[in-house]
Symmetry: C2
Amino acid sequence: MTAPNLLVVSTSTLHGSSYLEYILPSVKTFFPPKGNIVFIPFARPSGISHDSYTEKVRNAFSSIQLSVKGIHEYTDTKAAIQAADGVFTGGGNTFVLLNELYKMDLIELLRQRIREGMPYMGTSAGSNITGLTIGTTNDMPIVYPPSFDALQLLPFNLNPHYLDPDVNSTHMGETRETRINEFHHFNTQPVLGLREGSWLEVHGKKAILKGALSARWFAAGEEPVELPSGHIFEL
Amino acid sequence: MTAPNLLVVSTSTLHGSSYLEYILPSVKTFFPPKGNIVFIPFARPSGISHDSYTEKVRNAFSSIQLSVKGIHEYTDTKAAIQAADGVFTGGGNTFVLLNELYKMDLIELLRQRIREGMPYMGTSAGSNITGLTIGTTNDMPIVYPPSFDALQLLPFNLNPHYLDPDVNSTHMGETRETRINEFHHFNTQPVLGLREGSWLEVHGKKAILKGALSARWFAAGEEPVELPSGHIFEL
């Protein structure tokens, strides 16, 4: 891992505000000014088309003077990644996203460009794939990818939209914490539970937890701990 | 599909009651009296051991005069399935369960014995695998199975612990219904959302919805419909 620049965002949208609204000031300083950003729409939230999804991002990014083109609009997708000033991968279904990246043979190239320093931003599923595997996604396995191995830009797994147990619930399905504990019966890497409104900003070997809330850190065989906003990870 | 006898139960435990308590009267009439039941503990809820999980089932089943042995207690697991009067697969993590069944080469044998009429009961993950694929599980993909194809005893998919959208929630993660709709962008089979306290009793080509609640039926490209308790499916 040389020098990744990452914006690893739990959710694109906060309740009651518009798409990406709360995070746009950070996006603006993260990507190069007037940069040419390639958007990866493959996660297809609610099954929307790549065009509609890209349009949504274009609208949001236009207010911070960033131009966006969907990767599906390029005939040569590899050349698009090679030439990009930055990449943004939106949320949706993590299995669909990863499957498509494998099918288009973009995993290795993305990894390489990001390790070289090209800024990469993800929200939700797009953040999930910055970890070691997608083994801690909340999504339904609606397609079968060739592997659960992700971009592996961070030495741990992510759980975006992290949810605390609802103490008033009578539902018997597993809580998020129980699920992550079960993950640790079969996997050794730590898991970062990022609540909605939280994000990680990564530059080289340093990551900072941003947003108003704390994040929950699960290391195998240890009690989970709350990391305060502003916490610095040495990678 | 010849003549499967299935008890496809959404959840093992209702809030405020003990393990399997509410379903035991149905279990008693479903399995042959004093039958020798093989229990499959592979889904390992909360990562508990196969022994502890089997003990829990043995305690519950002893009150209805059924003897239980965990499949892991047999040296020849295939002979165990061959000789069983019935099989019960408990809940936990669906990926772990299916992965283990593939590793032990038990999928085809189970399918065959159940199609011949051997009674099969599942709860939660154990119910999920009676459908076509595990593509509509709620579980985390904590291990990577060789396929998402399940036992395929029913011509649709299951979603156990089905949850209605919480209209008061400010959480931006997808609702269960949104997830199932996304499933239908990539898959054609219907999905049965079984709420906690509901179960399907299947005999041959007929399945009946049991329990107090209705179930939610999602067919690709159609509005979901509520099926009342007592609804009969022709398979």
